[in-house]
Amino acid sequence: MPRRLGVPLAVLLVVAGLFGVGIGLGKANGFSLAELFRGPGKAPPGEFPVLGPSRPLRIQIPDIRVKAYIHGVGLDDRGAIDTPSLLLRNEAGWFDDGPSPGQYGPAIIVGHVDTKDRPGVFHRLNELKPGAKIEITRRDNRITVFEVNTVERFSKEKLPVDRIYHDFSRPGLRLITCGGRWVGGELGYADNIVVFASLISARKA
């Protein structure tokens, strides 16, 4: 092989290889590129409508092509919000002891990032950016429109409980799925991805 070709090729291989190792190490530690390019958070609005209680039926997030049915979930034995059965990987679960989307307080909606062999309804949740719109259709035939404020990742054992579950200052929405490092066992993934969003408008379906 001629030297003037061989040396650059060797350098290229070294650089590409180091890049591969870097990404691999990142994956092993739950690092994600989406988090790097997400941009700053978007402040919630000063004015917003307020609605009464009504069950959410469907959720739509155009930016990450989510269109799914919602059913009610409660708490499981270990005091975490229950999740939809793995068989319903394309459905989301609304924590039905909490506020409805549109009421004051945080409406909690959980969904799978994946099952044992396939991606789940919220597998692209991590790619959402501040400012993205989330539409939720309620049983009273109203569509509530939420805007993403921030997308954050927390260890499952160190969730900021107050910020996620106890902010009754406005009608809010929390979308929760799994993320971070895979540890397996009971826990599955080590972290939760939480999308914080606020109601900006409501309209008739």
Binding site: P2, R3, V7, L9, L12, L13, V14, V15, A16, G17, L18, G20, V21, I23, G24, G26, A28, E47, P49, V50, G52, P53, L75, G79, A80, I81, T83, L86, F95, D97, P99, Y104, G105, V110, G111, H112, V113, D114, T115, K116, R118, G120, K156, E157, L159, V161, Y165, H166, D167, F168, S169, I176, T177, C178, W182, G184, L187, G188, Y189, N192
Partner: protein, 198 residues
């Protein structure tokens, strides 16, 4: 007792909810000349007065008598702010609800204001909140109480299909680096040797 964000001061900012009985006028939009306009206004005013006198409003929905709670949905154990008016805001009035009992609202900045705490064990549901003015006029609103144990852990929302421990990338990357380094060494050796043509 836990006090939450949404309380008192949110009020003043005029957050979303239009309160019943708050002056929502200001629209209008007709533009006439000076005298004509004031004449019309007077006429409209008189008509309104007559209509008001004739229809004799029921006490429950009297003009300017209202009560509201903020936030209108609250977790049991937390506090809400109450704002009310009896048309004027000169005297104390009573606000009663199954959710928090009876509290006295007091005049502050042209509204009647108080705070009330929903006890920790209160059952979830909608509760009537009733204002009774000294004039015996009343107004009502609804306070929604939610009551649940706070989830302390995150939900298990994954099965592992997308999990990637990076082993392939680390291994593959390392192999490629090795290959590159090997090639470099080879090139250097060749370059030194006078026998091999460059």
């Amino acid at each position: 007792m836990k006090v939450r964000f949404g309380s008192f001061f949110m009020f003043r900012g005029g957050v979303g909810e239009r309160m019943p009985g708050s002056p929502g006028f200001g629209g209008g939009g007709y533009r006439f000349g000076g005298i004509m306009r004031s004449a019309l206004r007077v006429a409209a005013g008189v008509t309104a007065l007559v209509v008001a006198a004739l229809t004799a409003p029921s006490p429950a929905h009297a003009e300017g008598v209202f009560v509201e709670v903020n936030p209108s949905t609250i977790q049991a154990g937390f506090q809400v702010a109450i704002r009310a008016s009896c048309g004027d805001a000169l005297n104390n009035a009573k606000v009663h609800s199954e959710a928090f009992g009876t509290v006295t609202v007091e005049p502050v900045n042209s509204y009647l204001i108080a705070a009330a705490t929903v006890p920790e064990g209160k059952k979830a549901g909608g509760y009537n909140v009733k204002l009774t003015c000294p004039s015996r006029q009343t107004a009502t609103t609804t306070l929604w109480v939610v009551n649940h144990d706070s989830p302390e852990h995150g939900p298990n929302t994954g099965g592992g299909a997308l999990a990637d421990d990076g082993a392939t990338l680390i291994g593959g990357g390392a192999a490629v680096v090795g290959l590159g380094l090997g090639l470099l060494v080879l090139m250097r050796r060749r370059g030194r040797s006078p026998l091999t043509p460059a």
